[in-house]
């Protein structure tokens, strides 16, 4: 005797019951997994070891890191800034959001703009903004002197680890050697490290 054919309704009923069972299983597994991850050190250690063995995959699509994500890049510049007639010129090329950053500045003197600038120095202005600390040597700085007057040159500061607990806009103090009031550009950029 042939078996009775299964009706479409019975099929759907079976599928629905199966789906419900899978859902319940997922809910149970979710609870158990959370419990294991939170309370079983061996499980978390294995997961971290697995991730470590897999490596941290980099991006290859040219998309920048979003704000707040490790790898985020910030940059700013003050271009064509006139040196103060005397003393230091204070500029603020960069706004640093809260985080743990690597920060560097680059000073550029354009060719022919000043006729007798023979050197320059960049240091962080003091005091630092509230919540900002600088690691490493404690400064972001570069200095040079004795250069031929009228030359163009580009100088990089050291890269320094910078921690900010609140948004900071640090001042950079730029001084020059020579007597003419020329112009300079100061670029600054940072990479969120953590």
């Amino acid at each position: 005797m042939y078996p009775a054919p299964v009706s479409a309704g019975q099929n759907l009923y079976g599928l629905n019951a199966c789906y419900d069972s899978v859902q319940v299983m997922e809910q149970i597994l979710s609870k158990v997994m959370l419990d294991l991850i939170q309370n079983d050190p061996a499980v978390m250690a294995a997961i971290m070891a697995g991730i470590g063995a897999t490596g941290i995959t980099g991006v290859t699509n040219g998309q920048p890191a979003a704000a707040g994500v490790v790898g985020q890049v910030i940059a700013g510049q003050v271009a064509g800034q006139a040196f103060a007639a005397t003393g230091a010129t204070l500029v603020t090329p960069l706004t640093i959001p809260p985080g743990d950053w690597n920060i560097q500045a680059i000073l550029s003197i354009a060719a022919g703009a000043p006729s007798d600038i023979t050197g320059a120095a960049v240091v962080l202005g003091t005091p630092l903004p509230p919540g900002m600390t600088v690691g490493g040597r404690g400064d972001i700085t570069v200095a040079v002197s004795g250069l031929p007057a009228g030359a163009n040159w580009v100088l990089s500061t050291n890269t320094a680890p910078v921690n900010c607990s609140a948004q900071a806009v640090p001042q950079f103090s730029v001084t020059r050697g020579g007597t003419a009031a020329g112009v300079f550009s100061l670029y600054a950029w940072g990479r969120r490290m953590r």
Partner: protein, 223 residues
Amino acid sequence: MSGNPTTLPAPTNVVPMPTNWPGPMFNPGARPWPQSPSCFSELAGLNACYDSVQMMEQILAKVVCDLATNNAAFAQCLVEAIAKSGSNVPLIGVTNGADAQPGQVGEYVSFASATINIPTAANSQTVTLGTLQPGDWDMWLTTTQLSQVHDMGLYLASQPGFAVPIASIFMGSGGEIIQLVTSTSRGLVSVPTLIAVNVITNQAGAGSAASTTEVTFMARRRR
């Protein structure tokens, strides 16, 4: 006296009382009270359930450990889920000196040029160094030591996704010993990119003698 209790609006967090009270006290024609399970049988059931869950956890712990250790797809899934969750998972560094594999954060590449001839007169030349693969890189350049140039500029000719210029210029009077190191910048590239460097020498004065140098491009995958 009615068999039904007075109906009052129940608080939303309380299961409402039945309006048709089932007990024989109020409705002699209704069915009798159900037999309540014994206290011990309920506890035994709960205990068995607890044991089952414990056993399942032990099995799952083994399975998860096995998957995380040996199944690359599972580990990758975890990495992506962690990234998507936005949680601040501390990334543990390597302590065994192993290089990051191509495509992974931390990958380091360097391209060194062949020997570059520097004449005493003003000169500008472009040198290709290698092809940088797609990614989000920190990049910088350096030269070997020079002793006969008057002045020198070093620029990255192709500037993909720059945050700031990669450049360095030295001005001397001829005969100084120098080694240029450029600023670091971000290179955000989506396609393989040929790295070319402009080497500009002796623009402001003649060098003390013809010389040579090598330029090295270095990059670290940051993301």
